[in-house]
Symmetry: C2
Subunit: 153 residues, 2 copies
């Protein structure tokens, strides 16, 4: 039940932009270098995020991207839905990207109930979390000494 690489890159790029949130823009090359994301692929992803109004861009010599809203207004659920579609593990319990499944009788599908539970749990987390949370965490982690083992939540 994987988040796509595209989705992951989108979130990492937004986190990076969140770290530098302000009037200035960051160049794609800079984000790509820092986050080790292929530049041309990142171009495509940022363009899509611009379409979703998560970022805004400026062309030209001093061009680049920046967040289109404050980090605490950009919910992770919205980003993931925009970039890759439903959060729900099966289409028929998706509230925003409903897709009929092929089971014989959807109104009698036992699996649906459990999958709705999973969908609600995922949405419950991602609809609360924002880019600000990621930024805060990134700053925390940046400031902790090297060599720390796996952190715990």
């Amino acid at each position: 039940m994987k988040l796509s690489v595209r989705g992951e890159y989108a979130l990492r790029a937004l986190t990076h932009l969140g770290l530098y949130y302000g009037p200035e823009v960051l160049r794609i090359q800079a984000i790509a270098d820092e986050q080790r994301i292929p530049k041309r692929f990142l171009e495509q992803i940022l363009n899509e995020l611009r379409n979703g109004r998560f970022v805004e861009s400026r062309r030209g010599v001093a061009g680049g991207y920046r967040l289109a809203a404050p980090p605490d207004k950009i919910f992770l659920a919205a980003v993931i839905r925009h970039v890759e579609g439903a959060l729900a593990p099966v289409g028929c319990v998706s509230e925003k990207f409903y897709e009929k499944c092929n089971c014989p009788d959807e109104s009698r599908c036992a699996l649906r109930a459990v999958m709705k539970e999973v969908r609600d749990a995922i949405a419950g987390i991602l609809e609360k979390r924002t880019v600000a949370d990621l930024v805060k965490k990134a700053v925390e982690l940046k400031n902790q000494p090297m060599g720390a083992d796996d952190f715990v939540i």
Copy 2:
């Protein structure tokens, strides 16, 4: 963040087998017909479930499949992990199918914390739910009148 069709078919087949749990076996054709799953594909899936010891089989004229354990001992998390791998949305927070990601510094990855939260939520549900829960739900839904609207959890 989709469950694959394979994973879904596996769970539906197990639910069906759970409905008829007992010493007798069900033929693949019967499960396929009832659940509208392509027979040859289902053969492959059941074989994999047999490898994971979720079902057992008997060959020959009276051949077929049945659950290898009581329905309330077959956890959905175990099934999904067997059939399609990690529950976690990103490999680097998977506890059972760890995969390094490509971010620059995993120990400083802000996204990991949120994705671990999501992983824990998904696992929290699926490690509690069993095939017995699906069977119980299936029986409930079967016994309710036609025409009922979307059920609620």
